[in-house]
Amino acid sequence: MSSEAGQQHPLGIYYKIWILLFVLSSFSYAVDFFNVQGGMRWGLVLLFMALKAGFIVAIFMHVVWERMALVLTILGPPLVLLLLIGLMSVEGFYISGARVQYMGQDPNQVALTPADLHGGGHGEEEEHAEEEAH
């Protein structure tokens, strides 16, 4: 299993992961298709995303079979990015709150859709007013 010999593994594992990725992607799409909203949407989308990303990196990119020196080089530095994401979301929520508070912006406006603009297409059965809880 050492890397000098190249990453050679039975084909079966690739087929299994391949199918799994299809299933997980279908689940992700189903979340949108069945219009799941709110915390449930965030939780499910992020869960399927993390699983897909994990399987691609671990199996398709062979990281699970690499030596620790390389694994840490690959996975270590990007952890810093979590700090950036954390700081930017704290900052973002703050600015958004300040704009609503001091500039009188309405945080609950609803976006227009192509159907609104072009008229026709699909009508009232699409309820999207309660979306946009970010």
């Binding site: 050492s2 890397s3 000098e4 190249g6 990453q7 050679q8 690739y14 391949w18 990725l21 299809f22 992607s25 992700s28 979340v31 949108d32 298709f33 949407r41 965030w42 989308v45 992020l46 399927f48 995303m49 897909k52 990303a53 691609i56 990196v57 398709f60 990119m61 062979h62 690499e66 030596r67 020196a69 390389l70 080089t73 690959i74 990007p78 990015l81 950036l84 994401i85 930017m88 979301s89 973002g92 929520f93 600015i95 958004s96 704009r99 609503v100 500039m103 406006q109 976006a111 227009l112 859709t113 192509p114 159907a115 603009l117 297409g121 699409e126 999207h128 979306e131 946009e132 970010h134």
Partner: protein, 221 residues
């Protein structure tokens, strides 16, 4: 004295970098590809974090992706269907790439070649669909990097920036894969070994990996 100090520091620099040590027990090309991919991770994460920030701070409503990217095949528009198809195509191409790497190490040149060509073909069709999506948004919906008729103007800039940069990666990957595939076919790697197929595969899987995040954050959430 200072002369000696300078030459001394030079020689330690040279010694350190030319010392007979190896940290990564993989072909150098693979280590370099990984370092490139880590740096690319930083670029894409910066784009996505920028998106996070403008999406949080804008008080205009964010356009509803599932309606904007809906597509009608005769009947009612199906939400987000084009993006779902693009996602499945990219996963399929990741699978064919994994098989190409495997057959490369088995020294099965013919299968390696054809699986790489198939991967490139899926990649090219992905870019084609992206071109269709872009032209639909630009020409029919009037989305621009500085504004759009639906809501927050940042939607356009984020969309063009992130999907554009990703599409550029896919396009480069198609060219890269085809180059390596034809070299495999000609037998360029018979002596050198087939690590190059795995290295090209790493790049391709990374492109798929980035799409996983774009699909989740930009299209679904």
């Amino acid at each position: 004295m200072s002369e000696a100090a300078i030459s001394g520091s030079n020689s330690t620099l040279v010694d350190d970098w030319s010392a007979d040590k190896q940290a990564y027990h993989v072909p150098w090309g693979k280590a370099m590809m990984w370092i490139f991919l880590v740096s690319d991770t930083f670029i894409f994460t910066c784009f996505l974090t920028g998106y996070l920030h403008v999406r949080l701070t804008t008080t205009d409503p964010w356009p509803l992706q599932s309606e904007i990217f809906a597509l009608s095949f005769g009947g009612d528009p199906i939400p987000l269907i084009l993006i779902a198809i693009m996602t499945f195509i990219l996963i399929t191409s990741s699978g064919t790439m994994a098989l190409a790497v495997n057959f490369g190490y088995r020294r099965d040149k013919k299968k390696t070649f054809w699986f790489m060509v198939a991967t490139a073909a899926f990649g090219a069709s992905f870019v084609g669909m992206q071109a269709f999506e872009w032209s639909k948004l630009i020409l029919e919906e009037g989305v621009r990097p500085w504004g759009n008729p639906f809501g927050a103007p940042q939607f356009g800039s984020v969309f063009f920036m992130i999907t554009g940069f990703h599409g550029l990666h896919v396009t480069a990957g198609v060219i890269y894969l085809l180059t390596v595939a034809f070299k495999v076919k000609k037998g360029h790697y018979d002596k050198k070994g087939y690590e190059i197929v795995e290295i090209a595969g790493l790049y391709w899987h990374f492109v798929d990996l980035v799409w996983v995040f774009i699909f989740a954050f930009f299209y679904l959430l």
